[in-house]
């Protein structure tokens, strides 16, 4: 009979950091639990960073492989989440670097974008746009792709960490090995730039 991870691990072990320790000690099920906890976060982080879902899935695998290979070196004084995001960030940077000679388009899959246009109404009310100015959902997706694709990779990744992963400035700074002051200025630039490109495309 399949034994759940709970039956192997005591309550104290169930933090992310405790799970790292367990899998380093040879309990594979602890590593699998970490995969379950983080796979959606990491795959979406990379997808939003590089704009290519299929590649994001491959890089997510790679991220976990690195966690597995270097788990013995994990220092439990650090948060596991900071570490795994650091790996994912580095892999995304490398991917973008590799592509920089022949850039592929930043692509949001149809499946991940709403078909209805209810949110357009929110924006319209905020800006009192005329009906002819209101974009379809498809047009808006194209505008966001363009706007995200234009951002500098570091700014884009910091923005994704903030907006989607709800990380604090301090956590983002740890991932980038930088200061929270730098993160602050990156996010200011990222948000302004994103807003400006969206405005140019007449999203709002």
């Amino acid at each position: 009979m399949f034994k759940g991870v709970d039956s192997h691990l005591s309550a104290g072990d169930r933090t992310d950091e405790g799970l790292v320790k367990s899998f380093v000690d040879g309990r594979v099920e602890a590593f699998e639990e970490l995969i379950r906890r983080y796979q959606i976060k990491i795959v979406n982080f990379i997808y939003r960073a590089i704009g290519d879902f299929q590649r994001a899935e491959e890089l997510t695998q790679e991220t976990f492989m690195r966690v597995f290979r270097t788990g013995t070196r994990f220092d439990s004084r650090y948060r596991f989440s900071t570490w795994i995001y650091t790996i994912a960030k580095n892999l995304s940077s490398n991917e973008l670097r590799d592509r920089s000679r022949n850039p592929e388009t930043y692509n949001i899959r149809e499946a991940d974008w709403p078909v209805d246009s209810t949110f357009v109404a929110e924006l319209v009310s905020a800006r009192t746009l005329e009906p002819h100015q209101v974009l379809t959902s498809r047009e808006m997706k194209a505008s966001l792709e363009k706007a995200m694709g234009k951002l500098d990779p570091d700014l884009r990744m910091a923005l994704v960490m903030k907006e989607f992963d709800h990380m604090t400035y301090v956590q983002i700074a740890e991932v980038f090995n930088s200061s929270s002051g730098t993160v602050k200025s990156w996010l200011y630039r990222a948000k302004r730039q994103l807003a400006n490109t969206l405005k140019e495309s007449e999203v709002f």
Partner: protein, 517 residues
């Protein structure tokens, strides 16, 4: 308050990341300023658009896929033999290629053997040298550099600092990585006589003036085809030692000849005589270096006297021999201290501390064999938990000695289990051990594995930006020099040249490389 002062805080305001006082300032300003209110609204709208992007579900069963990959990797690890053998062959060919030039360069031979000449002023600093000390001192040294040989001497000096640092009870990962990378670059660059590389190293130090001059000089130097001819054509050239008395006679005779064929024959004779003398001198230097490594410093002093007879006053070679002699004499002094400590061992209760000190002094004296044996004694005698760190450190130092003595296979045997054993309680030692393994891979010509190790280290959580930059730089350097992939190297240089690493020496260097390739 003016908009320029407020604007940088607006994103943090929207994200709720401002401390109270600043937040109140921003709110007060927003009441008064329509423009900034617009910016805040734009930012909120942009976030609203972003939020509509739903998270995607992975299409593959991640747990199962990874389980399979881990299994495959473990199988692959056990069957990696043939590929490795091939890499070693390639590396052997490469060393043979460089071998001829290497022989002509006494300093780099000695560097390879691990005999550092400690000359520069940073060693007068009483505390342990840090990376900043070393780089600053190197910068000062470079300002005085007139000849490429001086640069090699600086490389040797750097090696002395590295050896010293290894001897410290708590080696600093960050400083060591930085020092070793500069040292490796210097060594490689001066061995192959590549003007541009030495130039790049000096670029780190911001010495454009010296770089320009050196570039010109090394061009001649790097052309190993005719050191002696170069000396004849340009008597002031830094490329060769001055001719000895006997060589001079040959030269004088040659100068009298007008017939082209006869002149060439006379020059050939001169070249041979001169080359024989230089080769003999270098072989003495080689011998002295070996003797020091074995702790026979008295014999080294004698050997160096013979080398000295073959050099002329006021030349670089003479200077090099003198420095080595000083080092050998210093080693003799250290040996008397070591002997005292050894006598003390019999009646002390702090056997571990005394042994550690002996090992440290042996490293400083360049007696790698002795240091290795001391480490072995520590490893044998102090297996108890109370000396855990000391024992792990001794294993690390032993591996370092083995690598410095070019005993790579034994170094690997030490390092592999050490990385695992140190991982739990002493991650710093585990990192240094992995760094050692990476370097050993690199020296063995197993570049792909070296790149893997360096990359893994660079991804260690909590690593400092300077260390990250140095490690990634090392990877780029391997791509550029050993794997013949300038494109890969450039990618890394570009990444390091970005804002986050601009303040680091290697980030700055990478930025320069990207802007003028």
């Amino acid at each position: 308050m003016r908009c320029e002062l407020i604007q940088p805080h607006l994103a943090a305001y929207v994200d709720g990341e401002l401390e109270d006082a600043l937040r109140l300032d921003v709110e007060k300003h927003l009441e008064e300023c329509r423009g900034c209110r617009e910016t805040v609204l734009d930012m909120r709208l942009a976030s609203a658009v972003l939020k509509k992007w739903k998270p995607a579900q992975p299409t593959m069963p991640m747990v199962e896929v990874l389980r399979k990959r881990i299994r495959e990797e473990e199988i692959a690890r056990h069957t990696a033999g043939p590929e490795e053998t091939e890499r070693v062959h390639v590396a052997a060919g490469r060393s043979a290629l460089f071998g001829a030039r290497r022989l002509a360069l006494a300093a780099s031979i000695l560097l390879a053997l691990g005999v550092g000449i400690v000359t520069w002023e940073w060693l007068t600093v009483s505390r342990k040298p840090t990376r900043a000390d070393a780089v600053a001192a190197l910068g000062r040294a470079a300002m005085k550099v007139d000849k490429v040989e001086d640069l090699r001497a600086a490389g040797l000096a750097l090696h002395g600092v590295i050896a010293d640092h290894w001897a410290s009870p708590k080696p600093n990962v960050d400083a060591l990585v930085q020092l070793e990378v500069v040292g490796t670059m210097m060594q490689t660059a001066s061995e192959v006589g590549q003007a541009s590389d030495v130039g790049k190293i000096l670029n780190i130090l911001g010495e454009e003036r010296v770089v320009m001059r050196l570039r010109e000089e090394i061009k001649e130097f790097g052309d190993g085809t005719g050191e002696c001819v170069a000396a004849l054509l340009a008597p002031d050239s830094a490329a060769a030692d001055e001719p000895s008395g006997e060589d001079n006679t040959l030269l004088d005779e040659a100068a009298k000849l007008e017939d082209r064929g006869e002149l060439e024959a006379a020059l050939e004779k001169y070249r041979e005589a001169s080359r024989d003398r230089l080769l003999a001198m270098h072989s003495f230097l080689h011998q002295a270096a070996l003797e020091m490594r074995l702790g026979r410093d008295g014999e080294a002093v004698e050997t160096l006297k013979k080398a000295q007879e073959l050099t002329k006053p006021d030349t670089f070679n003479r200077e090099l021999v003198n420095q080595l002699s000083q080092r050998a004499e210093h080693a003799a002094e250290l040996r008397s201290q070591i002997d005292e400590l050894k006598a003390k061992l019999l009646r002390t209760e702090n056997e571990f501390e005394v042994l550690s000190e002996i090992g440290n002094l042996q490293v400083k004296a360049g007696n790698l064999k002795g240091a290795k044996e001391t480490c072995e004694e520590i490893i044998r005698e102090f297996g108890d938990p109370g000396h855990r760190r000391g024992q792990l450190r001794a294993r690390l130092l032993k591996a370092w000695c083995l690598r410095e003595m070019n005993q790579y296979a034994s170094a690997f045997d030490e390092l592999e289990p050490l990385i695992t054993d140190a991982a739990d309680a002493y991650p710093d030692l585990a990192m240094l051990a992995q760094y050692e393994r990476a370097k050993t891979f690199q020296l063995r010509g197993r570049f792909a594995q070296a790149v893997d190790d360096y990359t893994e280290l660079a991804n260690t959580p909590g690593i400092s930006p300077s260390c990250y930059a140095a490690l990634e730089f090392q990877v780029a350097y391997i791509f550029l020099h050993d794997l013949n992939s300038p494109r890969e190297a450039n990618k890394i240089f570009r990444q390091l040249g970005r804002e986050a690493y601009r303040e680091e020496p290697f980030g700055r260097l990478a930025a320069q490389l990207v802007s003028n390739p």
